[in-house]
């Protein structure tokens, strides 16, 4: 039940990564990167119940918080402000 869901999620993720490579301008690439992060967090939770290892969910929480920090950092840089 979980493996087809994981494969569809990976295909959606590839579409977002394609927008990172072709997209015009920095904010579009950053938006695509943020979408990819969301999909990867959901994929990690799905893979955690697929592998039946309960400790794997912690990776998803840590990744969600850290990628949020990175998105804010790059957004501050695009805004052109001192930080």
């Amino acid at each position: 039940m979980w493996l087809p869901a994981a494969i569809v999620m990976v295909v959606c993720m590839l579409a977002c990564i394609a927008r990172i490579f072709i997209g015009p301008g920095a904010p579009t690439r950053l938006a695509a990167f943020d979408t990819t992060n969301t999909l990867v967090v959901a994929l990690m939770v799905v893979l955690a119940i697929m592998f039946e290892q309960v400790i794997f969910v912690d990776v998803a929480i840590v990744y969600a918080l850290l990628s949020f920090i990175m998105t804010l950092y790059v957004a501050r840089f695009i805004e052109g402000k001192k930080f």
Partner: protein
Amino acid sequence: MIEAAVLHIITPLALVVCAIFVALFRDLLYAAVSLGVLSLLLSLEFFLLKAPDVAIAEAGVGAAVTTAIFIIAIRATKRME
């Protein structure tokens, strides 16, 4: 288990494509964002190989610290290569 092999094939291929695009971009900000995607996929690959501790370390170093250092370096120098 042909379906499980699909994940193990797609993720390293996308990783290699990301690495090629990091080398191709002339704008260094785009290269930094591509490097963030590379570390994301590397973390996912460690996750698929059932090493969650390495995945946490890669997420912390790759997503937060490396990108912050690159952004500070781009601010201090020129953005275009």
